[in-house]
């Protein structure tokens, strides 16, 4: 009876996810393994032509490298800003900490198109920053940062930073205070305590934050388009262009290059950070 109830509960959500999440992805992969067709979604011959074309074309290589470079810059900046902010938040009283975390959660709920629009209004040639800086006499010409990779970095960094801060702050808050006291009682200064106790213990939060920021950077089509314009295209823009041009197999193949890059990067992040599963009682 119990097992029957368990199966009855599991069946509807499992079916929905298998049929509308797993199946479409398998089908997308199936499409990517076919040649293009004029009239149908895909041709009749099975081929790796789409993947081969992506690997051989220097245009794709340029864009993939640009994507990786941009993602690496964003990740590096997010780690520095994220850790500093998380460290400050983790030392606050619980009341303030919750307030800060809610202030970070709220922007995550606002649609990325709205947040990117905010940066368009700030960074544009006639935008708020341009006008203010010119009014103050700091710059003479209007800002030309919008529609460059720099604008994409600024926009995506600020859009994704809350994930990093929340993730690190949660793992910092879970560290048992007595570890710090033990380190200090054994004669370690604050810097050594940080490097040998706090930093390793917070590595799970750093790893999950880094993973999330990297993954979301790769798939942030709208932000890249609005802030980067046609000059700063990334891998995800090519997926979109493929769809708009009805090159279904090509778009499908590109769609699988994206998670492949993401998986490779995820493995790298895991290997570099080796997040340690040491749990404390927390405060």
């Amino acid at each position: 009876m119990r097992r029957l109830a368990g199966a009855a509960l599991l069946l509807p959500p499992l079916l929905v996810f298998l049929v509308f999440f797993v199946c479409p992805l398998v089908y997308l992969f199936y499409v990517s393994l076919h040649d293009a067709s004029q009239s149908e979604l895909y041709g009749t011959t099975v081929s790796f032509a789409s993947y081969a074309a992506i690997l051989r074309d220097p245009f794709y290589a340029t864009i993939i490298l640009r994507t990786l470079r941009t993602a690496a810059i964003i990740l590096g900046l997010a780690l520095v800003f994220g850790y500093a902010a998380a460290f400050t938040i983790a030392r606050m009283t619980p009341r303030w900490r919750i307030l800060c975390l809610v202030l970070l959660l709220f922007p995550l709920m606002v649609s990325n198109v709205v947040r990117a629009y905010g940066w368009v209004a700030l960074l544009g040639r006639r935008g708020v920053l341009s006008t203010a800086l010119r009014g103050a006499g700091i710059i003479d010409a209007p800002l030309t940062i919008l529609y460059t990779s720099d604008a994409v970095v600024i926009g995506l960094l600020t859009i994704l930073l809350p994930y990093m801060i929340i993730s690190i702050a949660n793992s910092l808050a879970a560290i048992d205070r007595s570890y710090h006291e033990a380190a200090q009682a054994l004669g370690a200064g604050p810097i050594r305590t940080f490097l040998h106790v706090t930093l390793p213990l917070s590595s799970p939060g750093v790893a999950s934050g880094a993973l999330l920021v990297f993954l979301l950077t790769l798939s942030a089509y709208v932000t890249v388009t609005l802030l980067g314009g046609p000059q700063a295209k990334m891998l995800v823009s090519l997926v979109y262009d493929g769809v708009v041009a009805f090159q279904w197999p090509r778009a499908a193949a590109l769609a699988f290059v994206l998670p492949a890059v993401a998986l490779a990067a995820a493995a790298l992040i895991q290997a570099l950070l080796r997040p340690q599963r040491v749990s404390g009682r927390g405060r």
Binding site: L41, A85, N112, V114, R115, P162, A220
Partner: protein, 262 residues
């Protein structure tokens, strides 16, 4: 060390400024009385909000987004609650796999999910509206799943057994014993799914059609093809306002601490 005591709070303040600043600018721009946004604005007016509700395409997108969010969040909450109830007592490999499956849309590149669904719908002939609802259910379910799972982890299942040994069927046990104790998690999950669905962008990008567009997609295409008109700022401000109302509702009904934990 002294310098660090100054630098860390400074970086934190800067981080909060760049995270919240762009949203604040958009909301401020929505209240401009002028044709173009100037900073500081010469005054405040509601003309762009009136303009927003005067434009058919904007009003339709707003209504569709609201309907979509309400229906998708409700479906997602039902599915996620079932999934969480089924998964929470299982151990081992199967449980781990199921959990990863129900959480997968959180980390999976959403634009690729959108493309996969587009091709899948095309070959099955599924219409725009049911297709959008399904996509939003998929994207919202992980948030509900996590919220319900968190509240189930502190639930004492011996109470369910007690109910059943006293002759209550599985439905009565759930509605009389389990649900009253986990409802804050269920409600928080519903709110989460509602907010996520209302702002959903990347998955819906390929799935909307002529006359059936969600508000974020409408904002995006306006920004892309018609430049930044301030009616877009009003649309954005409405979204921000709705989220603030929902956050206040969560705070009133289940407490903000739950929000930061799940």
């Amino acid at each position: 060390m002294k310098a660090l005591g100054f630098i860390l709070p400074a970086i934190t303040v800067l981080a909060f400024l760049v995270i919240i600043g762009p949203i604040a600018i958009v909301v401020l721009a929505a209240f401009s009385p002028t044709e173009f946004f100037t900073f500081p604005p010469p005054g405040l007016s509601l003309r762009w909000f009136f303009e927003f509700f005067r434009l058919d395409n904007m009003r339709d997108a707003f209504t569709l987004s609201l309907e979509l969010a309400l229906s998708a969040a409700t479906c997602a909450t039902v599915l996620a609650t079932m999934a969480a109830l089924a998964v929470v007592r299982r151990r081992g490999l199967a449980a781990g796999l199921l959990q990863s499956l129900f959480l997968a849309p959180l980390v999976f590149p959403t634009i690729i999910l959108g493309l996969a669904l587009l091709l899948f719908y095309k070959s099955l002939g599924i219409g725009i509206l049911p297709g959008l609802i399904l996509a939003h259910v998929l994207v919202g379910t992980p948030y509900c799943f996590r919220a319900v799972l968190t509240s189930l982890q502190v639930f004492d299942f011996a109470q369910e057994e007690a109910g059943q040994s006293l002759g209550a069927g599985p439905f009565r046990t759930f509605f009389l014993i389990t649900l009253p104790q986990i409802w804050p998690g269920v409600l928080a999950g519903w709110f989460f799914a509602l907010i996520v669905s209302f702002g959903e962008l990347n998955t819906a990008l390929f799935l909307t059609g002529p006359g059936q567009t969600t508000l974020p997609i409408e904002i995006f295409s306006y920004l892309q093809f018609q430049g930044s008109q301030l009616v877009i700022a009003a649309a954005s401000a409405l979204q921000v306002g709705l989220i603030l109302v929902l956050i206040l509702a969560i705070e009133r009904l289940v407490g903000l601490a739950r929000l930061t934990r799940s």
